[in-house]
Symmetry: C2
Subunit: 286 residues, 2 copies
């Protein structure tokens, strides 16, 4: 292998991993390297094989004049596991409980290294559903929604608590919060390109599911459909939520009478287990 | 070069680029690959050289028993340029102006591919300042703040518009908005670990600078220091803002009487120019 080839392999790998889920033009890449497309194809095959072996992700190449290459990252199960262990540990500290019985976690929700792996996890769960966008209600679910959207290659549709002057005209909905029984409201700017979109709703916390349900109702007014709901934490009680289908990374048993207060959900363990399958811990591993 | 070596190069490159600015243990990496540290060091030197040549970023290795390796990505000047061109074009469309004269841009602010490169840009500008965290006020500046924080390897300190039950006790500040002359308020939970922190304040929009100034004042109450301010767009008028030092990616000339309505700031062009220096467009380029 020549020096130039290994340099191209490093550059190609770096370029693909930092442009996940984007269609990269073969013509442009071969121009950048000053090599023929056939040479580039050989390089890409080597990168693809090595990425398969080491479970970094998959490389799909379409040949032809409009040919391109797309890198789809594999879920980093190790990062997800470490992150969830961190959350379980952090949230079990007594000073995380406010006198009113809430869990204080704003500092953690807004730390990219604590939230990005969980966005990858939610994205992995919804990847097959042809998602057009991620909806969330301000404010604390925003980082998780952004992390999920980034990994799915889509944008976030922000539902506001109040409509703002800078949003122009907006459609608003008042609803009864399922847990606190207070009247709350949310609104969506008419300028938001929601028509016909297939959306997943992402939030930090779910108790009765009233907010998720209201978001679903409001988005229906825009002819958008909520095809999935994902949250960081859901409470075990009430068992029957106001929405039917949702996934939570962690489950919180508020009463703490039986079992541990916080648990990782079964679907998470399954996705993490699958991401480890066949991964010998790198190409030289056994 | 053996098959195993090129597989390790691909895996190492992919692992480094997807764990930017993190200290990775040499011991753990050599265990993962099942190779001696000396072999791993040779691999890393090849990756480092190729990354230097192609300006993907820098690889720093510390040898010894506590030895580790850190990858610091280089600013992707091409992505920044393309993103800013997109913003200039999108914001000049007439239907972005609300009847009240605001720019509607919530949909763009919450699209990761439109905002992440600008977070990388702000991070590059503040990288040398030993930043402990990024502060922002809800809501529209959050994605840019998260993108900047991610690239700096720190968390975001969220200032709320109202204090919430789930935040526990909080310190609040009322202030006069510099542009609209309305009373506004912001608050920070006492649980937020701000004491002694060196922060940069990031927001989407700045007119008179009243919000940035109030954030600075509130954070001072926590013994935290705002050592820099970065926004996506600042207005040309008023020329004298309520804070002295700030950087804006784009400048908006609201009056539009002289010159173009939106312009890329000089410091941005300088950082982008530097990122292109010596980059022949890939290892095979001229």
């Amino acid at each position: 292998m020549t020096n130039q080839r290994y340099q191209r392999l490093v550059w190609l790998t770096g370029h693909l991993t930092t442009h996940p889920d984007q269609q990269l033009s073969l013509t442009e890449l071969s121009r950048k390297f000053g090599v023929a497309k056939s040479t580039l194809s050989d390089d890409l095959l080597m990168v693809k094989t090595a990425m398969d072996e080491t479970r970094l992700g998959t490389v799909d190449t379409q040949v032809g004049s409009q040919g391109g290459v797309v890198f789809s990252p594999q879920l980093d199960g190790e990062a997800v596991e470490k992150t969830l262990e961190f959350w379980l540990h952090a949230l079990s500290e007594p000073d995380r409980r406010t006198p009113e019985g809430f869990l204080y976690m704003t500092d953690l929700l807004f730390d990219p290294k604590r939230i990005d792996p969980l966005g990858q996890l939610l994205a992995e769960n919804f990847r097959h559903m042809a998602v057009d966008g991620v909806a969330t209600v301000e404010t604390k679910g925003i980082p998780l929604a952004m992390a999920t959207a980034e990994r799915l290659g889509v944008g976030v549709m922000l539902l506001r608590r109040d409509s703002r002057l800078s949003d122009g005209s907006a459609l608003s909905l008042n609803y009864l919060s399922g847990s606190s029984h207070r009247i709350q409201s949310m609104s969506l700017s008419r300028r938001m390109p929601a028509r016909g979109a297939r959306l997943i709703f992402v939030d930090d916390f779910m108790k009765a599911g009233g907010t998720a349900r209201a978001a679903q109702d409001l988005l229906t007014e825009f002819d958008a459909r909520v095809i999935g709901v994902g949250v960081l934490i859901s409470t075990r009680e009430p068992e029957h939520k106001l929405i039917e289908d949702y996934v939570a990374c962690l489950q919180w048993n508020e009463s703490e009478k039986s079992g541990p207060p916080l648990q990782v959900s079964g679907w998470v363990n399954e996705l993490v287990r699958r991401s480890h399958l066949g991964f010998g811990g790198g190409p030289g591993g056994t």
